[in-house]
Amino acid sequence: MKNLVVIAFLSAILAVCSAGSAFPASPPVSSLDQDEKMLWSRAEDEQKKIARSGLIYEDEKVTAYLNSVLTKLLPEDGVSGIKPKVIVLRSRHMNAFAFPDGTIYIHSCMLALMDNEAQLAVLLGHEITHSINRHAVKEYRNMKSKTSFLASLTVVGAWVGAGLFGAVGTLAAVTGYSRELETEADMEGLGMIVRAGYDPRESVAFFSLMEAEAKEENLKESFFFGSHPRMQERKENCEAFLKSGVKNSGSVNREVFAEAIRDVVLDSAWLELKAGRFKAARAMAEKYRDARSADPKAYYVLGEIFRQRAEKGDAETAKENYMTAISLDESCGEAYRALGLMSLKLKENENARRYFGEYLARSPNAKDRAYIEQYLKDLK
């Protein structure tokens, strides 16, 4: 049965790929049925709540870049009935979801984990298909008990998303759609990326990244895949698509992507570090360092990762990174602070005094000044 569904989608997509765009048009809001209007209204309320949450990653350049990639996937004259756009949420959880109006939310750490623009396009193509094909209302209409369906979604959303997600957001972000609708989103999304000239092989690479991340977090499936076809099935969908006669090549845009999201990667390294996920934090920090090898911030965050992990040999590695940060930017006060803390714990009092002095000279308004002054007093 599943194979039949995949074959049906592949046939339709191949026809579209060869004949040009054929996006189904969503009806204008004014002509929506009552139940769909209700879902849109709830979605609008939920989006207002997200906007007030403080979770939105505010960076005009990043947002503009992501929207430019989304635009490449859509027909030049747009998609009627919805207003596609991308918003980044500052979160370390691997997730992305779309609301019925075409707004796609992507979590910053998921974005940072990706390797290139083609992988981003895979995700955006999948998500925008949910909006274009009106999956929310289709899912809603398939439910036997609509009231309890919405109530249970809200409870689940409150649990996993700080109460941020109401029923519509939870459907999109947490529980996911039916397998048929998810497969449809996979297949039509892949069709979009091929039409836009991206390499569809990156879809398998993207799902492999997500799979590795879920294993690392010890999740059965990350939220992005929760109740979706299991990752293996989705990879199989992609592989079937790749074998269906589509061109197995295209652009990847690795450098453009790395440059555009570099600050998201650095921010994600800090988020992962705060969560104590040292391996993920290190991977992000090294990714940032590889893209910005002359940026002292790369070495400072690496120093912090090793200092705080504090495994055998980490102290030396941390120190090397702090020293590199200082050699790149003599005003990098935070690196002196960290060296001071390390020296203090090793009872290298002379060094501790010197480093703390350097720190306070460079950061006179440091938030932790009171601690440092206390340490200096104790060292006398």
Binding site: S53, K345, D368, Y371
Partner: protein
């Protein structure tokens, strides 16, 4: 079959019954299990739990004072994978606790207003002041004072909605905090 269902329902309902209700807070509250004593304000209520103190005047969401000692060997931080170690400086403990707060998925927009050293019962500790949005999107403010001695982390926290309520009882909290005495340093 119906009898079995009824029995199961009764058992599950029994599990919902409150174990100990809120009670009127006494002037001097002593917690032998936790090894601390504190003076509580008039007209406040406290929970009857033995393993921590939680007190409020108008209700749990409106203002809360929470005092608890944690055994760091039991890894009390649930939102960060970082662990507390007994040789950590107060500075480091404060930063890890902040990391745990920031990594809590039910809290958003966490901002630190203050992080300074203090002493609690003669032991070096820390005082954090921070704001956040709770799971309902309400902006909250909290003061969290703590200290790590051997394997025991002592936490004293006051939290309330930032608008109106926080300021209303901030001075009350300071009085409570000043009255805190650790009665058993070697709590086991």
């Amino acid at each position: 079959m119906k009898k079995l269902i009824l029995l199961a329902a009764l058992i599950s309902l029994a599990g919902c019954a409150p174990q100990k209700p809120w009670i009127k807070a006494e002037k001097l509250y002593t917690n032998e299990t936790q090894g601390f004593a504190v003076e509580l304000p008039d007209n406040w209520m406290r929970s009857g739990k033995d393993d921590f103190l939680i007190a409020t005047r108008d209700g749990f969401p409106l203002q809360t004072i929470y005092i608890r000692r944690f055994d760091i060997r039991e890894n009390p931080l649930k939102n960060t994978k970082k662990t507390l170690k007994r040789d950590m400086l107060p500075h480091e403990v404060a930063e890890i606790i902040l990391d745990d707060i920031i990594s809590t998925s039910s809290l958003t927009d966490v901002k630190t207003e203050e992080n300074v050293p203090i002493a609690i019962g003669g032991v070096p500790g820390f005082r954090l002041v921070y704001t956040f949005k709770n799971s309902s999107g309400l902006k909250m403010k909290a003061v969290l004072c703590g200290r790590l001695k051997d394997d025991w982390l002592l936490v004293v926290r006051y939290s309330a909605p930032q608008r109106h309520y926080f300021d209303m009882d901030a001075a009350t909290f300071e009085d409570v905090f000043r009255s805190l005495k650790v009665t058993n340093e070697q709590k086991q």
